[in-house]
Structure formats: structure tokens, C-alpha cells
Symmetry: C2
Subunit: 353 residues, 2 copies
DNA sequence: GTGAAAGCGCTAACAC
DNA sequence: GTGTTAGCGCTTTCAC
């Protein structure tokens, strides 16, 4: 690989001149510029970003840390980040953490070593996050997405999760659902799931309805089927409406319900969260709360890069979410569906409460 | 930020000793090591990867360039790449190109500037690719995924696309479909779509069946509805079986068919390609050819890193694909569905042939 | 306009 | 075992 020194030599100038030309800093005589350009072409020289970064102490790169690539909601956000970063000349360093807190720390540490200029990330728990503490300590600029920390200092692009949860409940209640449930991934791994639950429960409580049953499933486990069978077949009145903390989960839930002989939405309504594209292609189409994921990524990137450029930026941006009523929700047909046929659910498989 | 010099000073040793300790190269007296460790902790020192990379001329990072983040098939591959890279201590630099050839070049050039140790990528056309030419010229190690170049020299992890296309055709033909069609994204942007088409047409030709109708839709356009209406309502016998170059497209197609009053699979069968997870949750479930995307990413990464480590590696790895028959394909019920009701399709909207 | 030279943070001979 | 020192490829004063 040719270096700037080689170019300088071949053009009969000093490295300083080449550098100036390359970066458009300082004036270079037309004649000289031509010679240098020729040398660059002849040697097919490409400036080494490492050398530049070491010298300028900025890398023109930003780190991206998200829980999972396989959830379209994050993939879409990354697409937005990529868009915005690219047009502004920034490169992405990327890691996904699989919802693992230790992995978060490892990933961010690693990106710090690589001297990224800033970070965009979604963490498990922004309230107790070693990662964010570390970042705050370092002073490295970052922007959270999806997370909704109470701390107003932490830069965030998000939606109103509590309100969204409430709206999901309102939608269900509006259709006559009184006994409801929420199916969620591990709350410990998602502050937004917690917030959505809070809103959901709030709305139900305000109506004097029974508290929603909570079904917390492990992302790896995902044995949604067993867990659902248990509550449908349980001693308590079975829910007629189910709120799922995300669309992927909602899709699993609908599949499991089908296997359990329940028809959606006739026997039971299901509403998801995220608004991933495939939802509209399902049959029944998925009712959900739509987050503007791509825009979230774009906005976060814009915020981060503006800040890197020294501009004043808001610490928190709340993007609008929208309720998308799909065919997976409908009016209550029977209030107590416990008398439905139970295809198979031996009593001993019910988990101990 | 503390540097290695600061640490050395505080521990009363030379930078060489600190470096040796950090990298486990060379011996360091127990006593000394302790002092250094303490200094590192006290200063919360983190080695600057830029300095190291500049010195060792390797970055422990690999570049990833794929067409789109929003297609789960690529997202899954990236997940696999991330897995494997992470466990082997490599960091990912990432770009998506939106199927744009110029963008490919820009992206790769950029990653080269950042001195990535190698690249994993999917290009539009591996036969005529300025990017690959550039890479071959540079000598920078890379591995293609999804692409299936004829050139045996270009390292690739892929599946047998022609065979897979043939199998899709066989499946359709086996169900009695004679008049078929293929719906694809731009062939110019996908060598694999071309290969799949080749296999599909081959199988049909071998049977003496009419050549499949080809519907090429632009990824941005995606006006699948109009295009489908045209062929269903056209002068030629309408196809009873449709092969789509990827699952996302198949999902759109099924949606469009539904709007056009066609029932899948009763009136028309649809088979996709990729095997993205949601396919199994659709209703009808999506028939498709499954590619092992995650494994593809993993394998490519393993190959690349093995090569970086100086190991001998195969230039081409063909991973097995599998046919997943879903409910979106079925036997032919009527051979000429042209007499079906046409909900709305004014003649003037038919594109000129 | 242009050049000389001092760094940026680290590794790796090479001495001792 | 440990220290000295010359780079790695670039930018950026400071002279001229």
C-alpha cells in the first residue's frame, strides 16, 4: 500500500502539501495540485484512516449496539442509522448483544477501544446500567433508542411507552374485553416492556377491571404454548384479550392459540407492539402499536452527529406512535371461554403458581 | 484518556513492559505485573486500538456489506456473522447498499480506508463487479455470501441456486401446474435470482411445458398488484403456479392476489425463496426454499478468519438448502382460471407489452 | 504556497 | 525481565 509519503515523493512535494490537498485545508497551487493528483492516481493511493484518526483523534465512526438483529424492529432502526450516517460520512461499527447485559458491557468497551466518536444503543435496563454509567463517566456522546430512562439527562429517542400500553388496553376494553392478559419477554431485559405493562395495567385498573394476567416468557425459552395453555385452562377466568410486548411474540402467541384450538379474534383477541412490516401480511392481520423504527434510527443518528458537530440538541425526543387496528382484535363473543374444548392440557403440566 | 505512557510512568516501568503485559507477549515479573495492573485500574486505562492497529497493521475488524437490512434473510446472516466474529475477537464494520452498485463501491472503498482485515459481502453482480475486481487487485481477503459467481477463484459461501430453482419448479409441476410464472426483483441486482430462474425454466422446458412468464418488479416500485393483474387478465393462459425470487416478494404477491380476488392456493399456488422465519406463521404458511442464512454468515466468517489466520480454506462452500412445502401451494383445480371474476382491472391499466 | 518536524498511542526489534 | 527507540500513516503548528 502506498502511503502519503510515497505520493509526496513522487509528486516532488512534502507530505504536508499532499495532506492539505487531501483535506482541502490550506491553499495549494493549481500546478502542484495536478502533480499530486497524478501521483495519487499512479499509485492508486488511499489515505489510511487509522493514521488520520490517530492524529485527529476522531474516527468518523459511530458504534451501534442493539439487542438483536433478528427482530425487524431493530433491523429497521439500523437501516435508518445506516442511511443517516452514510450521508453524513460516518461509518458504523456494529454489535448485537442478544439481550445479555454482560455482552452489552463487552460490546461497548470494545467500541470504546476502537475510538468510535459516539454510540447509538438500546440497553436492557437504562435505570441500572453499568454501560451507561461507564459512558457518562467517559463523556462519550451517545443516544439511546427504544429505551425510555427516567433520568432526563440521558439522550434518548423513543416513544411514549406507558401511553402506548394504555392505548392498547383502551382498544381492548373498547371492544368489551374485561379479562385480559399481557404476554411479555423478560421484563428485566426490557424497560419498554415494563412501561407498556404499566400503561396497560393502569388503564384496566382505572376501569375497575381485574388486573391483567402477566405471562413472562424467556426469549430463549419461548415456550409460549405451555404457558398460554396454563392460563386458558387455569382456575381464574381466562382472558379474552391478550397484549403482547412485541410483534414477534404476538405472532408466536397467535400460532400457539391456534394450536390450542382458539380462534383469533373470535375466541380471543391479540394485539402486538412494534408495527413490523409483516404484521400487515398475516392472516388475520396483526393489530399493533406502530413505532417509527427507521425514523427512530435516523433521528438518533442526526442527534448524535449534530452533537458531535457542536450543535445544541434536545436530550430527549419523543416520536409519535400509532395504533394499528388489525384483524387480530375483535369484540368479545363470550365472557367466560373456560368451557371451550381443551384439546390437550394434562393437569400436571400446569406450572405451580 | 490515559495512555500506555501514563500507565508506565505511574507503575515506574517502561511502556514496553506495559505493552508486553497487555498482550501477553514476553514475560513480566509477578511483582511488576501487579504494579502495572494497579496503575491500569487507577487510571482506568483502555488501550487505544487505533495505535495498536497502526503499529501492527491489522485492525481485528471485518467489513460487512449487504444489500438491505430490512430483509430478514440478510439480517439473519449478519446475526451469524456477529456471533462468529465476536467469539473470535473481531469487530464488525457495517454498511448496507440498497442494491445500488455505486453504493457498493463507496462502501467497500470506505471500509478499505478503515483498514478492515477482511470483508464479507453480497454484491449485485459478481460476474461484472468493480468492487470484486478492486478487492482482487488489493489482495484483501473476502468471502461472498448468497452470490454464486462462476469464477471458482472467488471465495463464496452459498447454496445451489439453479438446483433450488429446479426443485421449486418440480414441486409445482408435481402438483399439476403447467402454466407457471416467476416473479422476481431486478435480475440485474441479483445473480441468485437469475440462477433460480434458470433452474426453474430448465425444469419446465425439460417437461415440454410452456416457458414461465417472467414478471420483473423493481424493489422500489413493488407495484406487484398491477403487474400481476396484467398477466392474470392477459391474452396468454394465466399461470396457476408462481415462483417468487424471495419470501418478502412472495408475501407481497400473496397479498396482491388476495386483493385481485384469487385464493392461495386454491386458485393459484405461490412458492417463495429464503425461508425467513415469519413464513411459517403466515396463513396460509409460505411454501419456500430454505437457505441456512445464519449458518451462511457463520461459515463465511469462519472461512474468512481462518484465512486471516493463515489456514488453508476452501474457495467455495455450498450449504444445503431445503424445500419447505407450505400451505401456499396446492394441486391445480382449474387449468384456465381466466374466466374468474375480475374485481377491477380496467383495460387501459394494462401495461403495453 | 510550501516544507520540516513534532506528535497521535501503540508494538517490536534490539540492547542490556 | 526490562528499557530504549524507531517506526506505523497521518495532521498540524511553525517557519520561511
Amino acid at each position: 500500500m502506498a502511503t502519503i509519503r510515497d505520493v509526496a515523493q513522487r509528486a516532488g512535494v512534502s507530505v504536508a502539501t499532499v495532506s492539505r490537498l487531501l483535506n482541502g485545508t490550506g491553499k495549494v497551487r493549481e500546478k502542484t495540485a495536478e502533480r499530486v493528483h497524478k501521483a495519487i492516481r499512479d499509485l492508486s493511493f488511499r489515505p489510511n484512516a487509522l493514521g488520520r484518526s490517530l492524529s485527529t483523534s476522531q474516527t468518523q465512526s459511530i458504534g451501534v449496539v442493539i439487542p438483536s438483529m433478528s427482530n425487524p424492529v431493530f433491523a429497521d432502526a439500523v437501516a435508518g442509522i445506516n442511511d443517516e450516517a452514510r450521508t453524513r460520512g460516518y461509518t458504523l461499527m456494529f454489535t448485537s448483544t442478544d439481550y445479555d447485559r454482560d455482552e452489552e458491557l463487552r460490546a461497548v468497551s470494545n467500541l470504546l477501544d476502537y475510538q468510535v466518536d459516539g454510540l447509538i444503543l438500546t440497553v436492557a435496563d437504562p435505570e441500572h446500567s453499568p454501560v451507561l454509567d461507564m459512558l457518562d463517566e467517559t463523556g462519550l456522546p451517545y443516544v439511546l433508542i427504544y429505551n425510555q430512562p427516567t433520568d432526563e439527562k440521558r439522550p434518548t429517542v423513543t416513544i411514549e411507552n406507558v401511553a402506548a400500553g394504555r392505548e392498547a388496553a383502551d382498544a381492548l376494553a373498547g371492544l368489551g374485553h374485561v379479562h385480559t392478559g399481557m404476554v411479555s419477554g423478560l421484563f428485566a431485559a426490557s424497560d419498554r416492556a415494563k412501561a407498556r405493562r404499566e400503561g396497560f395495567e393502569l388503564s384496566m385498573a382505572r376501569r375497575g377491571y381485574p388486573a391483567p394476567m402477566i405471562v413472562e416468557v424467556d426469549y430463549v425459552d419461548l415456550d409460549v404454548h405451555t404457558r398460554l395453555a396454563a392460563i386458558l385452562d387455569g382456575p381464574d377466568p381466562a382472558p379474552t384479550g391478550l397484549f403482547c410486548s412485541n410483534d414477534l411474540l404476538a405472532i408466536s402467541v397467535i400460532g400457539a392459540l391456534r394450536q390450542l384450538g382458539r380462534k383469533v379474534p373470535k375466541d380471543i383477541s391479540v394485539i402486538g407492539f412494534d408495527g413490523i412490516a409483516v404484521g400487515t401480511h398475516l392472516h388475520p392481520t396483526l393489530a399493533t402499536v406502530v413505532q417509527p423504527s427507521r425514523e427512530m434510527g435516523q433521528t438518533a443518528t442526526r442527534l448524535l452527529l449534530d452533537r458531535l458537530a457542536g450543535k445544541e440538541t434536545p436530550a430527549k425526543v419523543i416520536l409519535p406512535h400509532t395504533l394499528r387496528l388489525g384483524e387480530s382484535v375483535g369484540p368479545v363473543t363470550k365472557q367466560s371461554p373456560t368451557d371451550l374444548q381443551e384439546p390437550f392440557q394434562p393437569a400436571h403440566r400446569r406450572p405451580a403458581s
